[in-house]
């Protein structure tokens, strides 16, 4: 242990700890009625009780969108990373191009691609009524695809970095020792990239869970994902909805923490991590 090392970590540690504690702490206090904009503070779970139905629906919807987007992101991302190992890096390069695209702009361009007057509808020559409701439809398809699009590139880059450093050498050794392609993928490649995939998927999942603008632009009015619900209540002219907005934010943060706990349990079971 050294005090100098402790000192070096402070410029990062202090702002992170302060902002997170202040932000989430204030959200928690607001949701419990302890930080009212007007009137005396009073401990109450009213904000959670009044809105339980909406909160539950929104939580289920947010979890479903995040799960679907992350599953597609993992499959596409890992496949992209595997193609890059062979030296044909064009797909990975194409994925890298999407990294600087803000989600808001991703949502805008997905809308122009997938809406019923979008580029694909024009391409397939389907007139109004013939094109499925991808944008604003029942299944949140455009929303899921936008997240999956950006997440798959992120996951591909993370996994490709791991593959480049360690896995290629092990894969060669296993091949020399006579392991079949299928056996190598199952016994060498997948176990080695597993921690990176789980970590990248968890970050993607929690990001999607807490993301606002994509669902706002490409989703439907009701039901709302948690962040959309929270920010609508938060920016409402009625000040009484502020605690409910904070409650939705707290629920989102708790779900994100639960997802991370689940991911850590998955990693503990993985042999490589130990």
């Amino acid at each position: 242990m050294s005090w100098r090392a402790a000192l070096w970590v402070l410029p990062a540690l202090l702002p992170v700890a302060t902002i997170l504690l202040a932000g989430l702490g204030s959200a928690l206090l607001q949701s419990l009625g302890l930080m009212p904009l007007v009137g005396a503070p009073e401990l109450t779970i009213e904000a959670y009780r009044m809105n339980t139905g909406d909160l539950a629906t929104s939580a289920a919807l947010s979890l479903a969108i995040a799960t679907a987007a992350t599953l597609i992101g993992v499959v596409v991302g890992v496949t992209t990373a595997l193609t890059a190992v062979t030296g044909r890096r064009f797909a990975l390069w194409a994925g890298t191009l999407t990294v600087p695209v803000p989600h808001l702009i991703g949502a805008a361009t997905m809308g122009l691609l997938l809406a019923d007057s979008g580029l694909l509808a024009r391409l397939f020559g389907l007139s109004e009524g013939g094109w499925p409701a991808l944008v604003g439809g029942r299944w949140w398809i455009a929303v899921v695809l936008e997240y999956a699009w950006k997440e798959s590139a992120f996951i591909a880059l993370v996994v490709a970095a791991v593959l480049a450093t360690r896995v290629a050498a092990y894969d060669d050794t296993a091949a020399v020792l006579g392991a079949s392609r299928r056996a190598r993928l199952r016994l060498v490649t997948f176990p080695l990239i597993r921690p990176a995939v789980v970590a990248a998927a968890t970050i993607s999942f929690t990001y999607t869970l807490g993301s606002y603008e994509v669902a706002l632009l490409l989703g439907r009015v009701y039901p709302e994902p948690l962040p959309v619900l929270a920010i609508r209540l938060f920016t409402s002219v009625e000040l009484a909805t502020r605690p409910q907005a904070a409650a939705a934010a707290v629920v989102t943060a708790v779900l994100a923490l639960l997802a991370v706990a689940g991911a850590l349990m998955m990693l503990r079971r993985s042999a490589v991590w130990r």
């Binding site: 050294s2 932000g23 797909a91």
Partner: protein
């Protein structure tokens, strides 16, 4: 199996689908940015032109660009050195409670930024902190996990031998820092700064909630057009302009990575 992805027809088809998956969604903004008239169901615009670009410029795009660039640069200027120092401390292995410190430093990756911003909004109003400052603070915190991680990996691969050799040959501490340390870490530092810049450049929700309408960045401007209908060409022109500067930066960063 990996080799199979390279050689076979299936492998080729998989790669083609992947390239399409990543690039196809970018095509609409490329076309719409230069479309003056593009009625449905025409496959291509009826009339090409720069109406979208002009409307964007009239709507305050130059100002929004200055704001976004300032946000990105401020976040990079704060989060890169902070992350580098933290990474050095983590790499030294002499930190008390390293697991706890790592958990705190990486927590912004998983905790929803909107929830933090929503909670902070009231505090910012009550304490009278200027909102642009508060936005930069929250976004720097959001960027610190990325810079710390990248620098942590770089320090892991960093060979202390170069530093010791220079010292043995009589170089001062300052010379070692400028001539050995920073050049060796330059690729990682520029990569970290780029990611931190992106956090500031691409953010929407933190700027929206804490900026309180006073910080009009490019995403805020794009959102104000995207919410309505009939603005496709403005949205596309602004979007293109928002994506091109970081892409140029990305190429520069990739160059630094290769040349050193």
């Amino acid at each position: 199996m990996i080799a199979a992805l390279a050689r076979t027809t299936i492998g080729r088809a998989v790669r083609a689908v992947l390239v399409l998956w990543f690039l196809l969604p970018l095509v609409p903004i490329l076309l719409w940015a230069f479309a003056n008239r593009w009625p449905f169901p025409d496959l291509l615009p009826q009339q090409w032109g720069l109406d979208g670009v002009r409307s964007g410029l009239d709507a305050g795009a130059p100002n929004a660009f200055v704001v976004s660039a300032a946000l990105g640069l401020a976040v990079a200027a704060i989060a890169t050195p902070a992350g580098a120092l933290a990474a050095r401390a983590l790499a030294s292995g002499r930190l008390p409670l390293p697991r706890v410190i790592e958990a705190v430093l990486f927590a912004p990756l998983i905790l929803p930024a909107f929830a933090v911003a929503l909670g902070l909004d009231v505090l910012v109003l009550r304490t009278g902190v200027p909102s642009p400052l508060a936005v930069v603070a929250v976004l720097s915190v959001a960027a610190i996990p990325y810079t710390t991680y990248l620098m942590r990996v770089a320090f892991g691969a960093y060979d202390k031998g170069f530093e010791e050799e220079a010292r043995t040959l009589g170089a001062s501490r300052a010379t070692v820092l400028v001539r050995v340390h920073i050049p060796l870490l330059a690729p990682a530092l520029s990569g970290a700064a780029f990611l931190a810049f992106l956090v500031g450049w691409t953010d929407y929700v933190v700027t929206l909630l804490i900026g309180g309408g006073r910080v009009v960045s490019v995403p805020i401007l794009v959102a104000s057009f995207a919410a309505g209908t009939g603005n496709s060409s403005v949205v596309a022109a602004l979007s293109m302009a928002a994506v091109i500067p970081p892409l140029i930066l990305l190429t520069v960063v990739a160059r630094t990575g290769r040349s050193t």
